[in-house]
Every structure is written in C-alpha cells, then in structure tokens.
Symmetry: D2
Subunit: 337 residues, 4 copies
C-alpha cells in the first residue's frame, strides 16, 4: 500500500504519519520523488481501510494498493521517473548518459588516458574494474585497492565521476570515493551485500543476473531501497540462453518493461551482453531507440592487450565514432547527452 | 568453396563451368547477386586446388574457401547485400520495409479494412494468417483456403503484395497468388517443407524457431537456396528463455550477426517476440536502429475482438502513430520506407 | 468435461449418448481404457449441468470437469494407465519396454545384424531412421523408402516390430508396414502431420520438442487423440538449455509429471538427450528408477563408422551389458522386460 | 600439469619438491587422495619438460598435462574418488549418504523432532537453514544466529553432523560448530566467499548455480581447493530452463559428467530441483541409479505450516517410506546407506 502525500508537507507531519504506522507494527519506506513524496506501507495491509486513511489524513493526497511483490520501486509509488544525480551529471528522464572505461583498471597511465579520451568523446561517467569476478581462480583478479586508487587519480584529472564493482561487504570502506557502487550480475541475489549498499548514501548500479527474471531484478532493487537507499540504477546486461554465438542474449524488452513497472532509471551494457566488439555500436543505438536512459560501454586504449575482455572493448576511436552517431540520434529522441 | 565470376560472363560459359564441376561429382549452387554472380561448390572440396582453378578459368575473378556449414547464404558468396523485389517493393539494403496485417484473416471486411488502413500508414506488404498453427486442437485453426481468398481480394483492392504462412507441402498450389510464402517458427526445421518452397520462384519469409540458434537458421535458409530459390528473407521473432514476463525474448544481436554472416535481408517481428502491445513500438524502433531491413507488425481493426493474438496487436491508430515515428527515424538511417 | 461410463455398456447406447451431444453442437472423443470407457465433451461445457447429466443418464457412472486444456489425454479421463500393444509387445503399466537400433538404417546387413543382436539382448522393438531430419542439406538424409524396405526385411527376419520416423504427411502410405510411427522432436508442433497420424490405426511415438513445455507435449498428443487415435506413446528426449557439455538436457522430472497428468505411457531417449555414449547407461537406469515405461537406445554394430550419431550409439556388447543390468533392476521395480 | 607421487614419500621430500616449483614462480596445490598424493602446478607450464621432471625426480611416479581450466579438482589428479569424512560419516565412493531436515530452522522443538525422526529413518546428516536467501526483502529471512544455536542443540541430542548455508564471509565465525558449510546456488560465483571457505578445515557443500554450466561449477570448486581446502562436495540442484511446471530442471546428466571429470563426490537436491513434493521420491531414486553419492532432501514435521518451501518438503512418514525404498536399492547398487 502506498500513500501519495500532498505537495509541500512539512517533515514533522510526515515523520508523525510514519511513526503512527510503525507503532501499529508496519514497516514504512519514505520515497521522495521529483514531484511527489510517497510513503509505502509494508506488512499485513489487507486490514487497512485505504479510503478511511485518505479521508481522515490531511497530508495524504491519495492511496493505492500495490499488488506486486516489489513496493518501493514500483511505478505505482511515483508516476514521475526517478532522476539520479551524481555531481552535475543526471541519469534518468530526459538524459542519455554514457558510462565508459576499461573492463579492468590496469595502470595509472591506462585509466587516465582512457578517461581523458572518453570524456572528450562525451562520456559522463568513468567505469573501471578494480575487483574482478573471474570464473577461474588463476585468471587476473583485478588491481584491487590499488585499482581504486588509480581510478581516484583519473577522476581527479578529468573530473569524471567513477563507478566500480564491489564484490563483498567487507570492501565498503574502500569505496568511499567511488561515486556509484556497482553490483555485478553474479551478485544480483547476494542479499546481504544488497542490504549493505542499501545503507549507503550514494547511487548503486544494479546489474541483472545471468538467469534472473525481470521481477527478480526489481526485488533485488527493493532490497536496496528498503534499507533506505532509493538511488538505484538498473542495468540489463544480457541473459543466458541456448544461443552460443553471443556471450549472452541482450533482452531489450526488459528495458521497456522495467521502465513500465518501476520509476527507476534503466541502462544497458551492450559490451557484456554480446561479448563481440562489432555488435556494441548497433546494440547501443538500439538501446537508445528502445528507451534506455543510458549505456555502459567498455573501451580500451589497446584492446588487443587488455588484461580482460579485450574482444568486446571498443578502441578509443571506435568509441568516439559511436558517440558522434549517438549524439545525432539523441536530438531525435529529445534527450540530453 | 565459392567462385566469384567476372562481370558480364555469358550464360553459356557459366553453364559449361557448372557442368564441368557436376561431372566431377560436385553439387553447385548458382547465386546471382546484385553486383556479382557466384558459383558455390558443394562436396569434397578439400582436394580442389583453388588457385589453379582461378588461374586457369577465364570467367573466374577469384575464389574462396567457405569454412562455415552454410555455403550459398554465406556473406563470403556475396559481399553485396541481396535485395528481394516483390512487384515494385524492395526488401534489403537501403530500405526499411514494413509488413503489417492481422494475425488471422477473419473476414473479407476485416482484412480489406486493415489492408487499406495500413497501406495508407505506409505498410508495403499485407500479412494475414489463413492456416494457423495453434497449440490446442480446439482453438481457432484459421479460415484456411477461404482465408487465402480473402487475402487475394484485399490485395486486389489495395495493390499490396501479400504474405501468408504455409503449414505443409500439400498446400503449395493454394499459395499460387501469395507473393511471399512464410515458414513459421515451428516449421523452421521442417526440412521437407523447406525443400518444397526451395523449388518455388517466389520469396520465402523464414522465421527463426523458438529454440534454434542463429547458425541453424542459416542452415535452414541454405536448404531453400540449395534447391534453387535464393529469395529468402530471415526473420528474428523471439526465442524461448526462462523469462516469463514476455512471450519470447527478442534477440536483436541475432539481426546484426545474421547480416554479418549472410547476404540475405533480415527483418524482425516485435509482435510475436513480446506478445505485449505496448512493447511493439519501442522494439520496432530498436529493430530499425540495430540495422534490420524491416519489421512485421500485427495490426487489427478491433484488437479486443481478434480471434487470435489480440493482446499483441496494435490498433490502426497505434500503427499509424508508430509509422509516423519510424518515418522520421528512416531519414536518419538513410533508408527508404 | 468427461463422463466415465458404467462397465459393459452396449455400443449402441454409447453411440446414442455421443450422438445426443453432437446434435447439441459439442465435439466428443470416445476413450476406451483398460477398465473404463469415457466420453470427453469438447466445446462450451460451462453451460452443461454435470450433476443433472449423471443423474439422468443410466449409462454414466460419474462425470468430472477438466480444467486443463488437454482433455482426452488427461489422467482425469482414465485413472488406469493406458497400455499400448504392438503384436504381443506391451508398452505401459507393468512393463519396461526397450526399443533399440541404429540412428539410421544403412544397409540390409547392418540393420539385420543389429536387429538380431538387440533382440537377443532383450530389446522388444527395432528402431531405425529411414528419413532423417538433418540440420544441413548436405548431410546424409537417410536411405528413405529403401531404408523402410530394409527395416521390413529385418522385421521379417527377427519378428521384432519396427518404429521409424515420418517427416511429412505425403509419406503416410510408405509407413503401412511400420508398426509404430515416430514423430520427431522438430515436428512435435507440425500440427497438420499430427492430425494425419491421428487418423491411423497404429501407435504413434511422439517426441518432445527441444524447446517445448510439458503442457505443449500433452497438447500435441491431444491433436492425435482428438482425431481418433488414442495410441500415443510420449517420449522425453532432452530439452535445449544453456549447458553445452551435453547435446541436450534430459528432463526426468517431465517423465513423472507426464505420468501424473496423463494416462499415456512415457519413455525416454537417453541417446539423443545426452549425445554421449558413456552417459547412456546411467541415464537409462535413472529412467527406469524414475518410473518411465521404457527407453529408446541407439545401437550400432560399428559406431565409429555410423553414418549418423555414432558418438551417442552403444555398440552391441555395451547394449547387451546395459540390458543385463536393467533386467536385474526390473525385478526390483516389478516390471516385465 | 600434475605430478603423481610415489606411495609413502616423506613430508619433507614433498615440501622440498613444492618449494622448488614455487621458487620458479609456479603456484602449487597439494592434493592428498585416498591412494595417491598429487602436486598440481599452476602457471605457465608450457615451458616445463614433463618427461625430464619425471625422469629426474625420484619421488615422482608420473606426470600429466591438464588441458582443462580446472586443475586440482580434475579427475586427472586422482583416478580414485575422493571420500569426505565427517565424524564417522562418509560421503563418496561406496556410500549413498542422505542429508535431511527442514528448509528453515524454525524452533528448537521443530529441528529436534525432525532430527530424531530423520535419523531413525536413516539420514546421516541434518540440514537446516539459519540464514535464508529470499527473493523478497519482506519474506522470512531465517532465524539467523539463533537458528544455528538450535541446530547445535539438535546435533547434541541426536549425534547427527549438521550442514547449513553461509551467506557471506563475515559469518564464518558463527559456523564454527557447523560440520559442513553450504554455499547456496546464488553464491556459487561469489568468488570472495569461495576463497574464504577455502581456508576452512571442514567440508564445503557447493551447490550449482541456477544458470551455471558444469564447467563453471568445477571452476568454483577449484577456487575452494586452490585455497587449500580439498573437501568439496558438489551438488546438482536443478537449473533454470523455459519449463515452468517445475521450479527448476534437475540435470542428472551433470551428475555423471561431474563424476567423470572430477574426483569429488556429487550429490543432488531433488527438493529444490523440482519444488514439488510428489516428484522428490522418484527423483531421489533416479539420483541413486545415475550414480550420485547421496541426496539432500527437505523434510518437515508439518509441511503445511512450514515458514519456507513447504510445498516441496516431505513429511516425516513420507521420508521414512522413501528411505525404506532407497535402502533396498542400495543393496543392488552395492552402496552403504
């Protein structure tokens, strides 16, 4: 059940309203949208007389029952789209935000060179893996804490906010200077980690698991929001199917459905979805056309020598060409890039 | 192995060249492209000295070994894209061809009304199911031969070429006036049917099976071309995955890969792929952005009362709006609609 | 809706009962079980007063509504299991019937040698492909009509009934001497073919499609039974998943569910399910333990030289050893082999 | 590359041998089997002259190159099967070990009653979830530390060793008295957690992820063994496919392949694989027939009131009946239960 509050209600009144429900044994989630503030009620709401509450509570504009299992991330809670801000960068309605950088941070030179170049081409956020989840224990596991330090330097040099993947909750302190914390596909249902990043005051980029449904992705986002962090960016990055010619199968229908069902921003990762460099530009354009709020694209200054995922990385010129193409399209889509 | 012939070689010389190979026990496929004519050699080509053939045969420009199992449909055979013409309609390079119409032909009035409307909106080809493959024997099985007759009337009224699904080879004579014969997803590996439509002199629209790989789709196209019919249009219409929120998962990466691996035109069917009306417009736009040569969209003059697949059909106004949107995008893509 | 008739009702009374329903616009399916005869009503049964019919019709023992889409194959229609007889061979309750033979019939000598050997080892039915559905048009397509003739000879020599795959309905006459007609996985939803074999008076072995659900398999069986042929044997032969180490993934849960939902016999095909010889014996034993009514196992007198699927074929000694093992297990399962 | 050592080599000689390789920059894994001790070499072994090492090192019996990515868990390292002991219980070759208990520990009475009953029926190990990974943040999350305490009491009362799922590495100290630490399907590629349990001196039960290949499961086991813990039990618990009638699809072929490729014991979990109570006994019997080393079965003293997964839990009588059936079959399989 969700109550949409009247505009400009005082914090005191909201707190009192929330306290009232909590004293009756309900959990609540306060959801501050661009245009509305909403209060979600979690618990046995079957016995709550919705009409009565709306009529007798002056701060409430209207209320709705939420039949889905996901509550706070539900579109019902906010008709307006959530926009997430990182410094002066926005992700969501009206924007097509491009995140770019290497699969793995390899050296200060590598990450700084890439950062400078992708910024010039129009990327707004720098990505770079420091802790790398690898199928084999004998494969390169990332530069770890040192990698985060290199990212920090590239951020300082270019002003680009940074996003990097966290692999477990003991690493949280290390991510203090990371602007957006990424939860990788393999950790989408690492519920304890979701709870921990739910306590942060910064955006979380949540990737869909390889075999997880759209509903499960929303439930994982709900874990984060239920802990108090409503800054969640959803990311479709391909699912596992019987097809072997691509690494995964990019599910662009999911982008449309996620945006219908939820108010959260949704981006795609055409690099991991396909695993093939030549597929990245067409899938990036398709992502924009289908209505995604942005993309995450792997780039490298020397893909042939990349320590990880070189085959799916664009080189810096290819990325530049893609960005030029996307910028033209953004005009048609009436989106800022 | 494929031999690309010099331009403007006489038919006699080509026939003689082919005969020579057939006398040595090889099968051959003659593939007439927009710019080049090629002869594919099928059989134990390991023993053929390619360089020697090229040097000693004056009509041969150059030759290549084809490592893939699909030969005649292979991009190696034609660097230029195949363009298929139906009357004055073209499908392929430079065009974005929209096929539209109801899932099922229901009556003369229904199909004619829809045909007129979609033509006005810009559709170039009329679709309509006469023979319907249905999971249940108790579900509506289509208007059958009568349905084809209704399609013929709509074609006469509007001038639109028609496409309809054939379900088995005993129906071939019934499809004489059908411009494009469709092989449905469930029949993609009905090899005997593929062989029969391979003997026709008209285009075949071949849909990808629900659980068939990109390579298997190309192999099924090869069945048709190997019989002599090189007018094959490939159609990505969604694959079966674990996701249950959509009817199928549209695999747009497949469009890119099919066009890389083969010279045949590729379209998508966003209606069957998603099974949800509101997903059709965004997936149609994504199909154009990713490089498809067209789409097949289900429309109905009264979706709520459709005998089949109403939930995924656009009404005529929705289709018109989608077409207006697509036409703007076609300018950017430099494609004719 | 199904009406279970009293024992020993005369044919005249049943015909009259059926006629009455058909005059009211219903379709009916007469289902003669081992212990009961049942009449299924197809159509808008919502308006039929079931209790009234039972009370006022003396030949009716009781009636039930069938909520599933599959009617005549539904367990509700027969609580007892259907047993299918081919000569003096039985498939169903109380039996574990082994079908064996090569993927492809290659020569009279080959099929006769294999037939003699597998009969001696305890196989009850001989399999052999004459028409072969192959992914590539350039692969061996089977010995066709000649292959059926070779099977007939092997049948005459050994007395084993034979099963072979039909690929399209124009072949029906060729299958006159074939005891069990097989519908392959790729044709499970070739509905016109299902209707044709539904008119035969002989058993049909229906294989599950690579990407078809358990419910769809039952619906395809319903197509056959609805045409009047209730002798359908269901076959689980592996489904397509993301796993690449096996050819397909054998779904043994499907065997249990099919037997719960339907009264038809269910067998498995461990050879096609795995594609790996060493997996066939353990999967065959698992099939028996899970409750299957039999298995279909590919054997060859010289697997290394098989024209088709050699890698998954047991040689004749391996098959003999497997049969010895299975016979011991059949004692525990109280099944006749 | 792996070196199989001669029997009865002194610890000093082995340490010296290992040190030699480590000084050359290789990592090593010491693998102590039932009959052989082996040393795996990890690193750039392409340059190592295997024959030379074998000829010049007196403690080495023979060596082999390992082409697979998984090294220490590879069958090549041990031809004999690994047997894992927990107190006087054995898991592996010659045994069929049944683990049973509730999905969730709910109370001291519940877990003790179940423990007593399943022990009497023949279960050798008690399972019980204390930390529960749930799709919804609003669902019961387990009794947590208190649940582990209840398990400890049940262990003390019955003498049964206990197994419970760990959800993240900060919980490791809480699992001190837990005999076998379980890694759930969703954490199969939580590589940091794998590394941590790799440092424990107790068995780890590693479940296959919902969308993970057989090879990936082996690679995750490799993560644990590479850290020094070779006591890994693999568990096939169903994979995610398009089929919706069961919760997951149990992949029994995986059991056979895992045992061919690796020397580790393999069990199955028919409860989570199917999600349906009536499928558990047939799938349990199939697991034994296919060659599994045991099963993990959910039981409850009152399934209808279970806080979690009641629909797939056997009640105590059903479990008893299953065990009686399995014991008869174990005689045929020559396995101790």
């Amino acid at each position: 059940m969700v109550f949409i509050l009247n505009p400009k209600v005082s914090k005191e009144k909201i707190d009192k309203f929330i306290l009232g429900w909590e004293q009756k044994g309900f959990s609540t989630i306060l959801s501050v949208g661009t245009e509305h503030t909403a209060v979600c009620l979690i618990g046995n709401t079957a016995e709550v007389d919705l009409d009565h509450v709306v009529q007798t509570t002056d701060i409430v504009s209207y209320g709705k029952r939420i039949t889905e299992q996901y509550k706070a991330v539900n579109r019902t809670v906010h008709e307006d789209n959530t926009i997430i801000n990182v410094g002066d960068i926005s992700i969501g309605e009206g924007f097509f935000t491009v995140i770019s950088g290497p699969c793995s941070v390899e050296s200060e030179e590598q990450i700084t060179e890439i950062a400078r170049s992708v910024k010039e081409s129009g990327a707004k956020i720098l990505r770079g893996g420091a802790f790398k989840p690898r199928t084999s224990p004998y494969a390169f596991q990332g530069k770890q804490a040192q990698g985060l330090q290199m990212l920090r330097i590239a951020k300082k040099e270019t002003g680009l906010p940074i996003v990097s993947e966290i692999m477990n909750q003991t690493q949280i302190d290390l991510f203090e200077d990371v602007d957006i914390v990424q939860i990788g596909a393999r950790n989408m249902q690492n519920f304890d980690l979701l709870k921990e990043v739910g306590k942060l005051k910064k955006p979380v980029l949540l990737k869909r698991g390889l075999a997880n449904t759209i509903e499960e992705l929303l439930m994982s986002a709900e874990y984060i929001v239920a802990e108090g962090n409503s800054q969640v960016i959803l990311c479709e990055r391909g699912i596992r199917t019987f097809e072997t010619m691509t690494r995964n199968t990019l599910d662009l229908s999911a982008v449309v459905l996620l945006k219908q069902k939820s108010h959260l921003p949704v981006i795609t990762d055409p690099s991991h979805a396909s695993g093939i460099r030549s597929l990245v530009p067409p899938l990036a354009k398709a992502a924009m056309a289908v209505g995604a709020d942005g993309i995450m694209v792997e780039t490298h200054n020397n893909p042939a020598k990349a320590l990880c995922d070189g085959a799916q990385s664009l080189d810096l010129e290819q990325f530049h060409a893609l960005m030029e193409d996307l910028k033209k399209r953004a005009v048609l889509e009436e989106k800022e890039m």
